[in-house]
């Protein structure tokens, strides 16, 4: 890859991080934080983006960032007071900056209208009491004006240069400046040592030498001054043009104690630097304790210690490591089993060493998983903008509170919760909360609160989206469900069951916009993507006080808690999360329907029975109901079924291996794993198996009542 393209990639990556920082900082400021750290971090984020954008000539971005930065600098120096109006402007500018970054990355122009309005507002802001803002164009312009074309004729510049002690104290070096001067043309140099005191009186840090230079060059004064740019104020300097271009008489009037050196243009660089450094070396005051050759070599041999606290690693490498550790876990399990089979006593040295190994393996597995774990912050940070947009569109006043952004979860999970979460937050702000007028009428503050929380609970991550809106309008929900034929008109449902109706496919349509969360894209879609991750979603609602959606997800998608069962002699894993209960069916509860379908009477409802061995084609005989074990499982869309298997062998954590990647996709099978005895066991795709029971039949209301 072209190095510049790589740096460009890094830049845009960094922009995302800086934008997130910016957002966080601004929100903290909105909450009243005005400590210098927060304000500085905000300023720095914009500043960094501007700096990087300059490299890649993203002029529009640079210009906007500059205006933004100027205002932030005003805030930082307390020149601009942070009023709510200013805060809003800054937040909007942050969004616009993000748009500019995106435009820059995609190489398109940002919407000029939006930016122009903001720039105008900033101009008003920046023109405050002291209009100290630098004109944007000054910074947007490239580094410095190109050096003016050299004057055509050679001129002679007389330069008096006397360094002050402070010049050396800042690490400047007279010899280097003179060498630089020598780059401009032919240089005649006189060293003036008149003020050098006797050795006894020398102040080691003092500056006693001065130089008189005559420069024969085709340059203007600015070029000469430029050489001394860094030491302006740290030396006495006078530059004058010798009146007439006379031949050089100067050499003759050499002071007795003076030295003369001639500098030649660049080609003779090595020889020219020699004589300069000599006199300098004799003056101790500004001679740094230069490392001896040996030391310097040693320093060079050391590896760079500038190792940062974090490293960036290709995700593929981490995935490969996780894979290998998965293998290791399986291997270790196999080894344990072999040792047991070989009849080696548990108390023996081998078995004990194996225990150690097992312990270590688990630890490695945890550590590797931790590499991929990331705080949910990255997802949370997208939400404030979303809420602002929804608020602006709907005219509602919404305040988003987040908690637990530091909660860590596997990267793959993070990537996949973003969409459902976005949807839930949008619903909460758009439909969960009432309009300001309604809220005031209900005795609530006009500004609604949406609270987003993340926490770890028993090996899972729990995400909660709570609003303090009106809650679910249960009579309305029930009426809609009846109208759509999702439940029987006379169905007796508990409040919780009614709330859960909104997750049913086909429930949410445009017709229910007004009252409940759900707009076209239904909550069933959210629920589906959550269950696809092995998660669950639930809702609780109090009329007048708001609703809370709770999402519970596994921390990783690489391992799975499963129930080991056997069906028709084959070992299968059923994901634990789908199993509601296990039961021993009684013959009288099993009823056969016409088309080969059997149902189990369960607490007043009927649940379809799935004979796992038969469904997967392991056997062509029906399993004897009374000889089997039944597992009540719940699939997508809350459809329930009873799975019949031969026996349950226990519960264990398994490492998920893709069947599709290693073999091919098999209907009814989600993935595979390797058991301790080295045999492959398949992981049942409960959704697929369960949905098979209702393939052509319309959904039966009884399914809902069976709970």
């Amino acid at each position: 890859m072209d190095p510049m393209a790589a740096i460009r990639d890094v830049f845009f990556q960094e922009c995302e991080e800086q934008l997130a920082e910016l957002e966080t900082g601004l929100l903290r400021m909105e909450d009243g934080a005005d400590d210098p750290d927060t304000v500085n971090a905000v300023f720095r984020a914009v500043h960094s983006i501007k700096g990087g954008a300059g490299i890649f000539s993203l002029d529009a971005l640079v210009r906007f960032a500059h205006v933004f930065e100027t205002s932030l600098d005003g805030v930082r120096s307390k020149r601009i007071a942070v009023t709510p109006a200013v805060m809003k402007l800054l937040l909007r500018a942050a969004d616009a900056l993000a748009d500019h970054v995106r435009a820059g990355r995609e190489g398109v122009a940002a919407e000029p209208g939006k930016t122009a309005a903001l720039v105008a507002e900033f101009a008003v802001l920046n023109a405050g009491p002291s209009a100290a803002a630098a004109p944007p164009a000054a910074v947007a312009a490239p580094v410095a004006a190109p050096p003016p074309p050299p004057a055509p004729v050679e001129r002679i510049w007389n330069i008096e240069f006397k360094p002050l002690a402070v010049l050396y104290a800042k690490g400047n070096e007279a010899a280097l400046l003179l060498r630089e001067l020598g780059q401009l043309g032919r240089l005649e140099l006189d060293l003036n040592t008149k003020s050098l005191p006797s050795l006894a009186e020398i102040e080691p840090e003092g500056a006693y030498l001065s130089w008189t230079a005559r420069l024969h060059a085709e340059c203007d004064e600015a070029a000469v001054r430029d050489v001394f740019d860094f030491v302006d104020g740290d030396c006495t300097l006078s530059i004058s043009l010798q009146p007439a271009p006379v031949a050089r008489p100067a050499a003759a009037e050499e002071a007795p104690e003076g030295f003369e050196f001639e500098f030649f243009p660049p080609s003779a660089e090595s020889s020219e630097s020699e004589p300069v450094s000599e006199p300098v070396a004799e003056v101790p005051e500004h001679h740094p304790a230069a490392p001896g050759p040996v030391e310097a070599m040693a320093a060079k041999a050391e590896t760079s210690s500038a190792v940062s606290a974090t490293i960036r690693v290709d995700l593929d490498r981490v995935d490969r490591l996780i894979d290998l550790v998965g293998e290791l876990v399986i291997n270790e399990a196999m080894l344990s089993q072999r040792v047991l089979e070989a009849g080696i006593a548990r108390a023996s040295g081998v078995a004990m060493a194996l225990d150690e190994l097992e312990h270590l393996t688990r630890e490695i597995q945890d550590s590797v998983m931790a590499i991929r774990a990331q705080p949910v912050r990255s997802v949370f940070q997208r939400m404030p903008r979303l809420v602002r947009e929804v608020a602006a569109q709907t005219g509602k006043q919404v305040r988003l509170l987040t908690e637990g952004e530091g909660t860590e979860v596997d990267k793959t999970v993070i990537e996949r919760i973003a969409d459902p979460l976005t949807h839930m937050i949008r619903n909460a702000s758009d439909h969960g909360l009432e309009s300001p007028a309604k809220r005031l009428a209900a005795g609530k503050p006009a500004e609604g609160v949406v609270r987003l929380t993340a926490l770890h609970r028993s090996g899972r991550i729990v995400l909660e989206v709570a609003d303090d809106g009106a809650g679910i309008n249960r009579p309305r929900v029930k009426a809609i469900a009846v109208e759509k034929g999702l439940i029987a008109a006379d169905a007796q449902l508990s409040d919780e069951e009614i709330d859960n109706l909104i997750f049913l496919p086909g429930f949410s349509t445009a017709a229910v916009i007004s009252d409940i969360s759900g707009r076209g894209v239904g909550m069933d879609v959210v629920r589906q993507s959550v269950t696809a991750l092995g998660g669950r979603i639930s809702i609780s609602s109090r009329p007048g006080h708001g609703s809370t959606f709770t999402l519970s997800l596994p921390l990783t998608l690489a391992v799975l808690d499963g129930m080991v069962v056997s069906a028709a002699g084959h070992t299968l894993i059923i994901p634990l999360g789908t199993i509601l209960e296990t039961l021993q069916p009684r013959a009288k509860d099993v009823h056969a329907l016409d088309n080969d379908l059997r149902v189990l009477a369960l607490r007043g409802g009927y649940v379809p029975i799935v004979d796992v061995g038969l469904t997967l084609g392991y056997s062509d005989q029906r399993i004897e109901t009374t000889q089997s074990v039944a597992l009540l499982v719940e699939g997508e869309g809350r459809t329930k079924a009873v799975l019949l298997v031969d026996a349950i062998h226990g519960q264990r954590q398994v490492v998920i291996k893709s069947l599709e990647a290693n073999y091919r996709a098999v209907p009814g099978i989600a993935a595979a794993t390797v058991m301790g005895d080295g045999r492959v066991a398949l992981i049942l795709d409960v959704d697929a198996v369960v949905s098979g029971t209702r393939s052509d039949a319309p959904r039966e209301p009884s399914l809902l009542e069976a709970r």
């Binding site: 190095p3 510049m4 790589a6 740096i7 890094v10 830049f11 990556q13 960094e14 500085n40 971090a41 300023f43 720095r44 500043h47 960094s48 501007k50 700096g51 990087g52 300059g54 490299i55 630098a134 000054a138 910074v139 490239p142 580094v143 410095a144 050396y168 104290a169 800042k170 690490g171 400047n172 070096e173 010899a175 280097l176 400046l177 630089e180 050489v227 740019d229 860094f230 104020g233 740290d234 630097s273 450094s277 500004h286 001679h287 740094p288 304790a289 490392p291 030391e295 310097a296 320093a299 060079k300 050391e302 760079s304 210690s305 500038a306 940062s308």
Partner: protein, 121 residues
């Protein structure tokens, strides 16, 4: 022997850019992410010149320069400030803190190397 440059900048883009430009010009480059980190690196390494950003978390460029200058071993260390600011106030502050010179961002690799050559033997 190639010279060693320590760059101190919190922006990864800028670090990469500096490294790319300086390595291409034959320098050995070591890097730090902010002032505090820069001082840690200096405890281990003796660069020939330091190039530092001003706006950084934990310890900004001004603080970093002052801290380096306070260390007798680095009193004469050439230090260049990277700044997007063209305004004289920032330069003045950097100089007061002990900066040797400055480079205006976005820098041009040639100018960067020139500036470094101007302060290192």
């Amino acid at each position: 022997m190639s010279k060693t440059v320590l760059t101190v900048d919190d922006s990864r883009t800028m670090r990469d850019m500096l490294k790319h430009s300086l390595v291409a010009a034959g320098f050995r480059v070591i890097q730090a992410e902010d002032g505090v980190h820069g001082l840690e690196v200096l405890a281990e390494e003796k660069p020939d010149v330091i190039v530092t950003d001003i706006n950084m978390p934990r310890m900004d460029g001004f603080g970093f320069i002052e801290a380096v200058r306070r260390d007798p071993a680095n009193r004469a260390m050439p230090m260049l400030v990277l700044t997007t600011e063209v305004d004289a106030e920032k330069k003045g502050r950097a100089k007061a803190a002990g900066a040797t010179g400055w480079i205006v961002k976005p820098f041009d690799p040639v100018k960067l190397v020139d500036a470094i050559r101007r302060v290192t033997a």
